[in-house]
Symmetry: D2
Subunit: 332 residues, 4 copies
């Protein structure tokens, strides 16, 4: 089978397309023919930082082609996605639960024609989605779900601030729309903000026009402040995110990007009774809960651009350029 | 000013229209010109059971005409509604918080041209609503909100079972629609179920056609069971409500009606790990939270029929007939 | 190896001591030499009702003698206990999580010299306990923990009502003592109440002297009502338990006994804003959390009487007599 | 009556003892003869920073001498304490709830022979305490309670890290002891650590001997990390506090001191899935909950030293020296 592997320290140029032996489904494992995968910023970092020459990407969707002994929940023909973590099935999350994720460290990921995953890291995809759409869910969408509905426990009428139009923010926008949550989203592009409004954004802020976008976010909530921020921006945005948050609200700290380029500090949270919580994607149970919501309201995740298997490097470069809106996928 | 009073033990026939002295706004009070009121089943019971000859009805909306000393949050001209409880402003609720409600015991209610309420029992109405709509909120809608989003903490993709098309159920239906919650509603009338679908019901069950409506509710959730029931039916429905609930789900026990006509018992909840919680309307803070949601999504509560001040008795009889869909209001 | 088996429908008389082949540790399994087991009322019911001739008892403690392939968390020599459920490791609990428990249905239990359990159903025992003490934990103590600190979320200064001096109630008493929770316990025996006081009971009620023991419980909380009840008594006690609970408090419904002999109904919970929750023991994670608490405060569970392997039937009869205080164990 | 007033910007030297007219109990107010007050670091800051010449100190205990019209919950002779905030009675806390505290901004505090407080800012003191002990509760102890049992929701067997032996830390130590929570406390003085052990500290760390005290705290939890930190230290301790916290644990940010002298940043929380929450003392309801716990277990707060009314300046200087263990009080 064909699969891409990364070269430790090699960056995007170090990605190599190989012919590898086909994996088989061991006991408790599910063999999946991958149809589509999606990229996250973390995957870009892995091409630079991972110390083992593994198959990259945590996110994939495809068809079950075989199951190992003891597997009861899946059968050949099932349409499934991978989970981000190998063994975080339920509960609050422990260091063990979050120690192994696909496409990181020594654990091969999804950019291959066939993968064999433990049953506990496989989940049925929402029936109304195509493979590209389903491939966007395991990391970015689940991160937004966990931040909004598990950690911050947003209820209808509350508000969320979304920074930019990357995968997590656009997933958050769609999740806000179905949950009755007021969404406030920023971008430097009016065209992207126009697309965001079409997806249900309640307020859009062009941060080139409004350098004080935290003030604009406060205004959008009648001066009260947002109930939650999906903080994906790091040092450049964190203090403003806190300034936009209501008394007692929560800033969720997300992603590999967070706080690169200097540490913004905690001082701003002191004056406003804020909470902060670091988010690590989510559990398989949370993934099931999210899929139930996406299925009920027939949400179609936003695929910005789909690349072919041969164009994997171009896909990574597209992500690197940060010009996207939603998710970038590679079809296998 | 004109006001209706009930006669203890007199029932609907005991309602009397009187000319009473105009109330004034004492310290900390708000004087309201009532524009519309709404009826709840509890008000019907009060005409039979209340031992004091008070002005009935807990729910009203109108305009502030004067404020007493120390009132800062309201000014003449403000459009407001009453709260159900006189002093449950925030927190979990205590016997004291829930001891006094308008239109019950010795506390005059809203079926009058003018009422003076303590500031803590007044709340601004959602700007997009008319008085009739806003008058439906204090009891029925807040009960549904508390049950669904405070007690059962429903998140998008979860499900709620609604019994019949009375005020609480239709409010629950609208709140489910904006919160991404799967709604399953029962009625004996296909016409009402048609209206429910127009309001966003995800599943409708005619319980004349499906005596085993609890099975139909299970089917609507793929056999898993609903996450919450707004149980307003009493002895006739409670065991079926429990049978329709998922393992670990919650049956919320609502209303004056609940469990009249015999006690259904708790046995059914034992086999399925259920939770049950008695709901008493909600706090002022919850009311504000709900209004924020209704305002964001521009929800218009369902007014089945509006009566004039002179027709108060007809309005009560209309409620008694239980043929309504949503709420019955009396314009003052 | 020696093991007891029950005869379907045979009751205590149907228990048979057999010589069985020694089990081996399969992949992911832990082989345990059982040192001590404990009895729960559920086990007595199993001797009457279970339809398969299995080895009884859910609770056991002993030494690891071998581990199967892939087992990393245990090694020979480790002192361990069994979990009640075969696969409820974490999270809220699902029908699947709670479908299989040891010593029930087709799943052999702990009354054997050797047992092979899946790694996920084994847990290290608190180091300060002996085998008898540790054998009391998996069902009764974890049930009390789940009810008190997971479902009812008791905090210091809150109160719990404990009915009688069986295994759950005495475990609840000890857990209340270390958690700063006011404990109120009932019995018909002054001698047992004396023992309860020695274990830290804050209030004791002899229900032969006080038929209105629910009033005595109210008095013990200054009239406010208890925050939680561990309701193990069934139809005879449930209405009084509800009457003793504070506005907004929680009655936890526990055990095989609950509500045998007639259904008490739910009416009493309506007047007081109560919550009720059915408890099914608990998860492995909760077990670890509890053990951390028991270890910190060096709690020694109360073993009423220890029987030898040969006296298994006597042990069951002792349980049946309901004269015990705490737990009954059988040493293997 | 005698009362101290601060001079804006005057520091300790600016404190002046005055003869002032006696206050009276207006409508809804309670007139209290103050017997004892306690000092918090915030009060020291107020002597330097407050822009209005007010009576200082938030914390006081005394006897009710009169009540204004409409006051039902208090009567002359009642032994009471003040609340920190004038109007945070219940619920999550809002900017309004926390906008006015006694002894700050324009609101007179407790360092006076007589004070008139709104009923909602008065609470009965635990009966077993003397006035000095009760005067320590409103700010420091309630802060520890809120952080530990409301925000971090600690349960028995969990752990808390306490930094130094000031008022919040020693209150936290006593609250941990009654709640079955493992306490780990630091100091530079072996004598103070000895006293801490006598109060129930499970682990003590001399941070002069162990500069890597965060490692010592990790060791005390078997390498797992503490469940919560009461972070009162600021820039010098915050990174180490985060390093000592378990995956998913919570650092509570407390006090006027926090983060003076540089901002430690948030980077350390990213790697470990931490949560952080800013604590602002607590609500009146939380105060009642705490008092219930302190009363049940007959906890006597630690009064390090009691000064007379004339020695107010000495008391402030004693606090400034930071050599104390527990609380400093001034008897009125």
């Amino acid at each position: 089978m064909k699969a891409w592997k990364l070269t430790p320290g090699g960056g995007i140029e170090g990605l190599i397309l190989l012919d590898l032996p086909e994996p088989v489904a061991g006991p408790g494992e599910v063999l999946i023919r991958v149809r589509s995968t999606s990229l996250n910023y973390r995957d870009l970092l892995m091409t630079r930082r991972n110390r083992h020459p593994i198959i990259p990407l945590s996110d994939g969707a495809g068809d079950v082609v075989a199951v190992g002994s003891g597997v009861a929940a899946f059968a050949p023909g099932d349409r499934v996605t991978s989970c981000f973590f190998k063994s975080w099935t339920d509960g609050e999350g422990t260091p063990e639960d979050t120690s192994e994720s696909f496409g990181g460290n020594r654990l091969d990921g999804m950019l291959a024609e066939l993968v064999a995953l433990p049953e506990s890291a496989v989940i049925h995809m929402p029936p109304h989605m195509n493979y590209d759409e389903a491939a966007t869910l395991p990391c970015a969408a689940l991160t937004a779900w966990n931040a909004m509905y598990v950690q911050a426990r947003l209820t209808p009428g509350q508000s969320v601030l979304l920074l930019g139009t990357g995968g997590v923010s656009i997933a958050g926008l769609q999740l806000a729309a179905i949950g009755g949550v007021r969404s406030i989203i920023t971008s430097s592009s009016d065209a992207k903000l126009e697309r965001a409004r079409a997806l249900g954004a309640d307020h859009t802020i062009n941060y080139h026009e409004r350098e004080d976008w935290e003030r604009a976010a406060l205004d959008a909530t009648g001066g009260r402040g947002v109930d939650a921020v999906l903080e994906v921006g790091g040092a450049a945005t964190y203090p403003k995110s806190m300034a936009a948050t209501r008394f007692g609200g929560m800033v969720t700290l997300i992603g590999a990007l967070a706080h690169e380029g200097g540490d913004p500090g905690t001082a701003p949270m002191l004056g406003r009774g804020l909470k902060a919580a670091r988010i690590f994607v989510g559990s398989r149970r949370q993934f099931q809960d999210m899929n139930r919501a996406l299925t009920l309201r027939k949400v179609h995740p936003v695929v910005d651009r789909a690349f072919s298997m041969d164009e994997a490097a171009e896909a990574f470069r597209c992500l690197e350029s940060q010009a996207h809106f939603g998710k970038i996928v590679i079809r296998v």
